[in-house]
Amino acid sequence: MRYKRYEKMPEKVDKHILKNGMVLLGEPMESVESVAFGFMLPAGAARLPEGCCGASNIIADWIFRGAGSKNSRQLSDALDGLGLHRVSFVGGSHITIGAALEASNLTQSLELYADIILEPSLKEDQFELARQLAIDSVHALDDEPRQKVMLKLREQFYPPPLGRSTAGDIDELKVLTAGQTGQIVKSKFNLSQTIFTVAGKYDFNAVCRQMESLFPGSKTDAQQSAVFVQGKAGKYTHIDNEGAQVHIGLMTETVKPMDDDYYNARVAVSVLSGGMGARLFTEVREKRGLCYAIRARYHGLKEAAGIMCYAGTTPDKAQETLDVVIGEFERLGEGISEEEIDRAKVGLKSALILQSESSSSRAGAIGSDYYMLGRVRSLDEIKNKIEQITVDTILGFLRNNKFKEFTIVTIGPKQVTVK
């Protein structure tokens, strides 16, 4: 069956740059009563100074422990009083803090977030608690091998410091001080490199006016807080754990989000693991019953990108699972049917529209677009790019970008042999 035309998708993206350089982006959505907003602060794990791995995680907690004239409890009560559904996320490049809420409470929420960003109390006693929680959450990962394997995989795949653990390193967390961490907040919460996004029901003019008064000041001549990439890490890492399964993480290099071949890569990953009819699910689970959880996805940073795959299986099946997975990666370039490409494309396009109904997803997507590409892609643009992909373009792409090396991490009672 052929792909049908979708209704026209929203094109409008609001944009304004504050005097201090902060970029404000907005995507209005009809027929929602909610709004979602996020501040992308350039203080992610990869931007930290050496020896401070985990500081971003502490900061994301510490800044909420009192700000402006409010102590920790008063601040939390004020946020809860507005019914905010809070979101905090520590990534490689940014700490993103924000919320989804009923649209009428946006103004008051932004006032509170301005205090959190500009005037966090950063009390020493609160630092100790935030640090202890960060240490505990790293320990807790030992009990969550499915999560840990993917964090470790990023660490092994990306050249340092890109893959640096967003959770943190116990030894470095233990010696971090409030002074050092406070200094990181000061230097990294750089407004001229901060991206603010809003999606849903809002009045952009009112938002701009309010933001201009909440975040005054002129653009600082701050150094571009770029990430300096070092050499590349190892190929196979095994972590022994007497659990029930071997958790396998595998990653291989591909093109970055701004590359011309980006959409070829996305559709190729979809052929591998877009839906239940995709190759990995079919070969690993449906035909062989090796796994319950098996999936691959595109993972892109500004500096590097990869295709990331997870499979969890009992020890006796681990080797066969890994061999079948790698076999499927290698087989991809040998041929893809029209029907497979059609399914992959419909899946990608539908996911795009379904996500466009959620204010939180849109607020996140426009921010990451702007950071990666320096502009926000309209849904129509993405849809058209996906539409242009054909069997020939993907096969051409795969010929020029062969999967050469696989970085592999396993956690479990048994190692695998990597050829």
């Binding site: 929680l133 839906g275 959880a293």
Partner: protein, 408 residues
């Protein structure tokens, strides 16, 4: 929003909520069956059967089913709980008919022996995966301890042994009894044409034979009891405390939902300030779970083994202070605002509406608008919550823990 309803001659209820402003639609079959409808001998069959529905029909192979779903670009899945099995898809309006037809076909699966045997491996892998997920395992085991021989104590996944012992014949027999039209609700939400969707559903689904599909209710034993298991590879203590709560049919469930937020929301709750803010536990959350004729509160805590007795002491104090002094007005206001904004956010997506639509019909045979739920949450008073606390006795909880070997 416009509500629609129709009942077929064989008892199948079709319900819908049309929202022309939505960009997508969501469709689902809600089967009133889960692990509480199993005997010990066939424990795990509901969940296994949910997997087997994707293995195809007399006409379609498993691989053809998967490809057919992918052609619609649907975000689809299924889930089995103690009492419901739900199959759903969110899809662009132009693919709704196609994906609905597919679900209808799948509701009469072939249950082939060779597919059954192959899928057994996948089920055993899923059981193994959850054994490596202690915060799930501790809830599952706590539920069994709390409910003892009450059927709600049956694990959803079953055990490796119970799944190993299952036969395709037992599954077919269970399917015939439980997937009867009078035990199923078909629901649709979002941007769709009701008459058109009815014309797709009516003719094939009218062929389904109704059956006697009953469920044993009965009191949950509950009570104060304690169990701990050790696993050498763990480093944290995972604790689940379960106590009685209102059922899905009980109006008090709205007060209970707010009480759960006051006690154990992930931020700003009593657990948060006493345990997480003070870095005694990295997670301490409460969930209120109203079920068919019974209801429970779960409290899930994760902390270091050294902090266990301090943490449990504080939890006891929190429960005691709630019993003695009740909640405060400002606590209720905060909880209410949080719940209301979550409600608005969830209901913006057709998928969120589908799930509310289906579960209200399954439990209450009632259509409730978002405004009905907002009204019910707004109407809860401090006295309502306090009298619920008195009635429930939160401290009377069943405790299950999983943690590393104790050094003593």
């Amino acid at each position: 929003m416009e509500f629609k309803k129709k009942t077929l001659g064989n008892g199948l209820d079709l319900i819908g909520e049309v929202n022309r402003a939505a960009k997508s639609a969501a469709v689902g079959f809600f089967i009133k069956t889960g692990s509480r409808d199993e005997t010990k001998q066939i424990n795990g069959v509901s969940h296994f059967l949910e997997h087997m529905l994707f293995k195809g029909t007399e006409k379609l192979s498993a691989i053809e089913v998967n490809e057919a779903f992918d052609r619609t670009g649907a975000e689809f899945n299924a889930g089995t709980s103690w009492e419901n099995t739900v199959y759903y898809a969110a899809v662009l309006p132009e693919y709704l008919e196609q994906v609905t037809k597919l679900w209808i076909e799948l509701m009469r699966p072939a249950l082939r022996e060779e597919d059954f045997n192959l899928e057994k491996n996948v089920i055993k892998e899923e059981i193994a995966m959850y054994r490596d997920t202690p915060n799930f395992e501790v809830m599952d085991k706590c539920q069994s301890l709390y409910f003892e021989d009450h059927p709600c104590g049956n694990s959803v996944l079953g055990s490796v042994e119970s799944v190993e012992g299952l036969t395709a014949e037992q599954m077919r027999e269970y399917f015939t009894r439980r997937y009867a039209p009078n035990n199923i609700v078909f629901a649709c939400a979002g941007n769709f044409d009701w008459d058109k969707i009815c014309s797709v559903v009516e003719s094939p689904c009218s062929q389904w034979q109704s059956q006697r599909a009953e469920r044993k209710l009965g009191e949950a034993p509950g009570g104060k009891k304690k169990k701990r298991i050790e696993k050498a590879n763990l480093v944290r203590e995972h604790i689940c405390l379960m106590s009685a709560g209102p059922s899905a049919q009980d109006e008090a469930k709205f007060a209970a939902l707010l009480l759960g937020v006051i006690v154990g929301d992930s931020v700003g709750s009593r657990f948060y300030w006493e345990l997480v803010d003070k870095a005694l536990a990295e997670a301490a959350v409460t969930h209120c779970c109203p079920m068919d004729g019974v209801g429970v509160f779960y409290n899930n805590i994760c902390c270091s083994p050294e902090n266990v007795s301090a943490v449990l002491g504080i939890v006891e104090d929190i429960f005691q202070s709630l019993c003695e002094s009740g909640i405060k007005e400002e606590e209720l206001n905060k909880a209410r605002n949080k719940v209301l904004s979550r409600l608005v956010l969830e209901n913006e997506l057709p998928m969120g509406r589908l799930s509310a639509l289906g579960s209200n019909w399954i439990y209450l045979k009632q259509y409730r608008t978002i405004e009905d739920d907002i009204g019910a949450i707004k109407a809860v008073t401090v006295d309502d919550v306090n009298s619920l606390i008195k009635q429930l006795n939160l401290g009377e909880s069943t405790q299950f823990s999983i943690g590393p070997a104790q050094s003593s």
